[in-house]
């Protein structure tokens, strides 16, 4: 069993002909991800990177039987691209696009309530199941198939956690960058559920950030479980002055909620080992697993 992506996952890329889409699809193809087509309105009937390009997601599904999509379209059109994919019946949508207006994502979230589509992102590095496939922009060559599920709100810190768990030999079962925007798809808690239910996953690394309530909710979720795999967490921005914007809309600290202190306390109360420095993620995870 694997997380969100397995051997049957057939991926299309919305925005495949753009600079980013081209760059990352080329790498994903080279690493064995099953990218079966692309979508770019006006370029239907052509081919790009050796796969067919379609005008719409619906046409792409009809010809390629795609069941997943990775989105690289510009921010002004990204919300429509997500909705198009969901309406066409794509089960897994990974949206890499950043800087989507938040009210567009409010509309997308309302729309997705009526569908079974799982959205990862936006403003997400995507997800990787080592040895199976990479949807998004995560760098190749840092992963090791293994035992740790990684869920992260921060793109670059995801790589940091991957790097540390590869270097100490634990490896990863799956790595999900849920994206740094205030309104997005899959939540930290939903990812934890997937990891808890997955046989390959023995431990979980959770990378949080100041702002929002994702970590508090995750703590609440963990405390409802009867048995929990070891979870190691790091909250970025512990030393950041409150009320200052650190590059993500999602990291504005509002009204005393969602500070590093409240998050760490909630997670610790739920039995999570919270490391105070990001450099300790890998070693503490290994220790928690008795390695």
């Amino acid at each position: 069993m694997s997380i969100l992506v397995d051997e049957s996952t057939r991926v299309i890329c919305q925005g495949i002909t753009g600079r980013q889409g081209t760059f990352h699809c080329e790498r994903a193809l080279a690493s064995g991800t099953q990218i079966v087509g692309g979508v770019r309105q006006g370029k239907g009937g052509t081919s790009h990177l050796g796969v067919p390009v379609f005008d719409t997601v619906a046409e792409a599904i009809e010809v390629t039987q795609a069941n997943a999509s990775v989105i690289f379209v510009p921010p002004a059109n990204a919300a429509e691209a997500i909705i198009e994919a969901a309406d066409a019946g794509i089960g897994l949508v990974v949206c890499v696009t950043e800087r989507i207006p938040v009210l567009d994502m409010v509309r997308v979230r309302a729309h997705l309530k009526e569908s079974n589509t799982v959205l990862v992102g936006p403003n997400s590095p995507g997800l990787a199941v080592p040895g199976v496939g990479t949807l998004g922009i995560m760098p190749q060559g840092i992963f090791l198939p293994g035992a740790i599920g990684i869920v992260s709100r921060s793109s670059t810190l995801t790589y940091e956690a991957v790097d540390q768990t590869t270097r100490n030999g634990l490896g990863q079962s799956a790595c999900i960058g849920i994206g740094a925007d205030p309104v997005g798809g899959i939540s930290v808690s939903q990812c934890l559920r997937l990891f808890m239910d997955d046989d390959q996953t023995q431990g979980v690394v959770l990378i949080g950030e100041v702002g929002g309530r994702a970590e508090e909710n995750a703590a609440e979720f963990l405390s409802t479980l009867s048995s929990v795999k070891p979870v190691v967490a790091y909250i970025a921005g512990q030393t950041v002055p409150e009320g200052r914007r650190m590059g993500h809309a999602g990291t504005i600290v509002h009204y005393g909620l969602g500070t590093a202190r409240t998050k760490i306390k909630a997670l610790q109360d739920a039995g999570v080992r919270v490391v105070s420095s990001p450099v300790d993620i890998g070693s503490v995870m290994a220790e928690s697993l008795g390695r």
Binding site: F23, A76, I137, P139, Q164, D181, G243, L257, P278
Partner: protein, 423 residues
């Protein structure tokens, strides 16, 4: 993007939201005139900066001058304005350097029995705007809510473009507002939501909202943040942004698309990705170091912009060492970082010790270029050792003082290059 109070109130006035008549003043004379135009007094004089907490802030390091002051005389209004203008206001929500006050806003002072906190913002977990309200309006609101989160009334607003009046009615009755003000309050919530959606706001807040004895409402303060990601379709909002006041360095950063925040320490940082940048600060602070800045350089292809990032962080005279923490991924490649540093060094010789932690795409290529550069660089295999190295470098005896002449700087640089990189 944070609007000034007077800009937010102009927006609200156009929407029909009750705000007081007020006048912006950028000089003592204009402040005196404004007070006379506004009538009898007393007046309130409010510093216009891009941050909250003004009533708790201090102007120009003075103990007795806050960012919001009151006066009973026209002369007092002028004097207060003169003492504020051009000075820096430090509040709990600014950096320790504070923000320069380029304008004050003068309004009649209103006294009211009941002061409400009212805001609409995005609830990320629910994925929709939410209305927050409390009867404990005023500058203590954040503390009150932190101490007692249940004192806050919350109403989810959904994905609609127009909410029903019943939403505001429900909030008003939960707050226990007097019946004479419920109708106006419900209309106000609907108007605020209308602005929120039409102008792509991420926050609209009135704190306090005064409820006068006859039940009428008036917004005494106004705070509006526009969603930066939507500025492309909100040209009027973008135009307001260009009038903002930022420090020179922050303005340079904004122009290049960097996320930059000056801090008070002596260890410079440059990272790619907000998360990694925050982690860099955390790792340094955890080991007892003091970061001089937060700098997140978004993934870029252009070496020239990386060069700008280095020049920006190196322009801080307080930094004693610099750590570069980059995980090459996506379009961000480590060799771009190396080339940017070398270009910056040509333009402005780098005289402080550098610690480079480069991983991911093209890291070996970057390392080989930098090794040959003659710069004082230590290479860190991971963030843990990098953080320790950069703190040690900042604490070591300072390099000879920089002279102002280019020749002087070149001489120093050549001398250092001959000595070779420190181990």
């Amino acid at each position: 993007m944070f609007l000034f109070e007077y800009q937010a109130k102009t927006m609200m006035r156009e929407q029909g939201i009750p705000v007081l008549e007020g006048i912006v003043a950028t000089s003592e004379q204009r402040a005196l005139d404004a007070a006379r135009e506004l009538g009898e007094g007393p007046w309130v004089i409010k510093a216009q900066i891009h941050a909250g907490g003004r009533a708790e802030g201090h102007v120009g390091g003075s103990e007795d001058l806050r960012g919001i002051e009151f006066s009973n005389t026209v002369l007092g209004v002028g004097q207060t304005a003169a003492r504020m203008l051009g000075k820096s206001l430090v509040t709990p929500q600014t950096t320790r350097q504070g923000e320069t006050i380029n304008a004050v806003y003068i309004e009649p002072e209103i006294r009211s029995e009941l002061q409400i906190f009212l805001a609409i913002l995005i609830d990320g977990e629910r994925g929709e705007p939410v209305c927050l309200a409390s009867v404990k309006g005023g500058s203590q609101i954040e503390r009150d809510i932190f101490d007692d989160p249940n004192s806050l009334v919350r109403a989810p607003l959904g994905a609609t473009n127009q909410i029903a009046l019943s939403v505001g009615h429900e909030v008003a009755s939960q707050l226990g507002l007097p019946s004479s003000s419920i109708g106006a309050f419900a209309e106000l919530v609907q108007q605020l939501h209308g602005l929120f959606v039409a102008r792509d706001l991420s926050l609209i807040e009135i704190n306090p909202l005064a409820i006068r004895s006859n039940g009428s409402l008036v917004a005494l303060d106004a705070r509006v943040t526009v969603d930066d990601n939507a500025l492309y379709r909100q040209p009027a909002m973008g135009a307001l942004a260009s009038r903002g006041d930022q420090s020179g360095a922050e303005e340079r950063a904004a122009k290049n698309g960097f996320n930059f925040i000056p801090l008070d320490g002596n260890v410079g940082t440059l990272s790619s990705g907000a998360g990694l940048a925050m982690a860099t600060l955390d790792a340094i602070t955890h080991l007892g170091g003091r970061p001089a800045n937060f700098l997140d350089v978004p993934p870029v292809l252009e070496v020239s912009r990386v060069k700008e990032a280095f020049l920006l962080v190196l322009s801080d005279p307080g930094i004693k060492s610099l750590i570069v923490n980059v995980f090459g991924a996506g379009i961000m490649r480590c060799d771009t970082i190396a080339d940017g540093l070398l270009l910056a060094h040509l333009e402005q010789p780098v005289s402080i010790p550098l610690v480079m932690r480069l991983a991911g795409t093209n890291a070996p290529l970057a390392l080989s270029r930098l090794e040959r550069s003659g710069l004082d660089i230590q290479f860190a295999p991971n963030l843990a050792s990098g953080a320790q190295m950069v703190i040690d470098a900042a604490d070591s005896p300072p390099a000879p003082r920089q002279t102002d002449s280019i020749a002087g700087r070149l001489t120093q640089w050549i001398t250092r290059a001959k000595e070779g990189p420190r181990s």
